[in-house]
């Protein structure tokens, strides 16, 4: 391999092998700290030695062997550990897995990092570090937290895993659906933060985070290809990511789904998402919420023009979603679709019924503002845009709302195409920050 390829080969090895190395070491030494540190040292050695020695024929094996050696060195250095180390080992069952079960240490690693006994922010940080291989400064930057605070969060989580004996194990079949949904919530939170950043201090869309979430979800899908919700989340993510280039205008405001240049959508990602959705339909198993959300996105991305959108199917899918997740956010998104099917007046009545529960949510006001605009109730629409802007945190979203409000004054009222403020939505990753997926 030529010298030019070395940095690329190193990056690729990091992307492909990090989780495998950490997972194998965790299993062998029963300690997340040792595994993480030894893996980091092995990758540092690769960066140092590969340019001179050349990339080894099997980089994964080289890294695993090197990391094992580093771990043993460290344990020898701290030989006081001895028996105590044995005692503190993570518990995992060495019983043979039932036939057909997936036995991959990376899956154990994922379930341990996303254990429900850990706080959500700790699960996210730990998963990005141990499974994703992001460095501490990268994770700290991703969530706008001081590096020291992020380090502490991860250290505390690892200490709890050890002290409370959170096992290194894939949950039993009985617990699997619930635990898997906890894992998916972590991945979806990372994706959502990238999809529509919460704060004003970053870019409105953060492709590094959406890419990382997709990469981890792809890994999970490869490990458990038969799990419908994993496939559903992956489909949802790629169908959303496919629209990224069309979602922000050159001047930096969000472009709603109905105004997007659909030629800018990523055809390969759309094809992948549609294929995943078709596979789930063919499986003929009652879908969970991620699969329904993926299906909604598949309907949107099937329309080459917004006017070709099959709204009755979208409303039907939202009805299905509401049965699985009777949250007001789902009801709000259903109302947005309903406006296209039955008109803004019907939709407004549905939206107004949600005020008790959604008055603090910017998208509630943005939706009302748009429906009122379409009904020609301009002053009320303006007031609703103001309420939405006061609550929105994302810069591109604020810019979008400002533009829409300012257009109220001088645009003819009627025949403007409907604004679809964003579509499917869910996930409430922050206490009061209900989030929506769409646009």
């Amino acid at each position: 391999m030529s010298a030019v390829d070395v940095p690329e080969a190193t990056t690729q090895a990091h992307r492909e092998e990090w989780a495998r190395v950490v997972a194998a070491l965790t299993r062998r030494f029963g300690d997340l700290d040792i595994a993480e540190e030894a893996a980091a040292e092995a990758f540092a050695s690769a960066v140092e030695r590969w340019p001179a020695d050349g990339v080894p024929p099997n980089p994964g094996a080289w890294l695993t062997i090197t990391a094992n050696r580093k771990a043993i060195d460290r344990i020898r250095r701290e030989n006081k550990r001895g028996d105590k180390q044995k005692e503190a080992q993570l518990v995992f069952d060495d019983q043979p897995q039932p036939p057909g079960a997936i036995d991959d240490d990376r899956l154990r690693l994922i379930f341990t990092c996303c254990h429900p006994a850990l706080a959500m922010d700790a699960r996210v940080a730990l998963t990005l570090r141990m499974v994703g291989g992001l460095t501490m400064p990268e994770i700290a930057r991703a969530f706008l937290v001081q590096e020291a605070a992020m380090g502490q969060r991860i250290t505390r989580a690892k200490a709890k895993i050890k002290a409370a004996r959170i096992p290194y194990r894939v949950p039993s079949a009985e617990d699997l659906p619930q635990r898997m949904s906890g894992v998916l919530a972590v991945l979806y939170l990372v994706f959502n933060e990238g999809y529509l950043a919460t704060g004003p201090d970053t870019g409105p869309i953060r492709p590094d985070l959406t890419a990382e979430a997709i990469r981890l979800t792809r890994l999970l899908h490869a490990l458990v290809p038969g799990d419908g919700e994993v496939a559903g989340l992956l489909a949802l993510m790629v169908l959303t990511e496919a629209r990224r280039a069309a979602r922000v205008s050159p001047s930096g405001d969000l472009v709603a789904l109905d105004e997007q240049d659909r030629g800018k959508w990523d055809a390969a990602l759309i094809a992948e998402g549609h294929r995943l959705v078709r596979e789930r339909l063919a499986a003929r198993v009652a879908p969970g919420r991620y699969q329904v959300l993926a299906a909604i996105n598949a309907v949107h991305t099937s329309a080459r023009d917004v006017r070709d959108t099959d709204w009755s199917q979208i409303v039907a899918l939202y009805d299905q979603l509401a049965r699985l997740d009777p949250s007001p956010i789902v009801a709000l998104n259903r109302a947005i679709a309903l406006a296209e099917l039955d008109g803004p007046e019907v939709a407004l009545a549905a939206v107004d019924g949600l005020e008790d529960r959604l008055a603090g949510y910017h998208a509630f006001h943005a939706t009302r503002a748009d429906l009122l605009r379409r009904l020609g109730r301009t002053p009320e629409s303006r007031a609703a845009y103001d309420s939405a802007m006061a609550l929105a945190g994302n810069t591109a979203e604020t810019a979008y709302l400002t533009r829409r409000r300012d257009q109220l004054g001088y645009l003819p009222r009627a025949p403007k195409p409907p604004m679809l403020h964003e579509t499917p939505a869910i996930a409430r990753p922050r206490a009061n920050g209900a989030r929506r997926l769409g646009a």
């Binding site: 518990v91 254990h115 006994a117 002290a163 004996r165 959170i166 096992p167 194990r169």
Partner: protein, 107 residues
């Protein structure tokens, strides 16, 4: 590995008769499955006495060391292989005694 399962009460007070029956049955299951170490119910916080003997003489104070809406009303000490096992048992215990519980590992 042993875990302390603390039973947290927020005003319901002592266990009712039907709760006591359910707790007894749960205790029997813990014993049969080898998870039982110890368990006990406590009097209300108003029956507590705090004593601080770090100084020259012991100072006795009436009442709990911390006044709060939620307080400890009982506990189990269980033997479990790992936290997943402990959480499962604690979930059953919470249901039977009709109160929330906290699970904490012994060192």
């Amino acid at each position: 590995m042993q875990y302390l399962v603390s039973v947290i009460d927020d005003g319901a007070g002592l266990a009712t008769d039907s709760e006591a029956v359910a707790i007894d049955a749960f205790n029997d299951r813990l014993k049969a499955d080898g998870h039982w170490v110890f368990a006990g119910g406590l009097g209300l916080p108003s029956t507590a006495t705090v004593i601080d003997s770090r100084g020259a003489e012991a100072i006795i104070t009436d009442g709990p060391f911390i006044e709060s809406k939620e307080y400890l009303i009982g506990f189990w000490i269980i033997e479990a292989a790992d936290l997943d096992v402990a959480l499962k048992l604690a979930a059953d215990g919470s249901k039977q005694c009709n109160r929330k519980v906290e699970v904490r590992p012994f060192l």
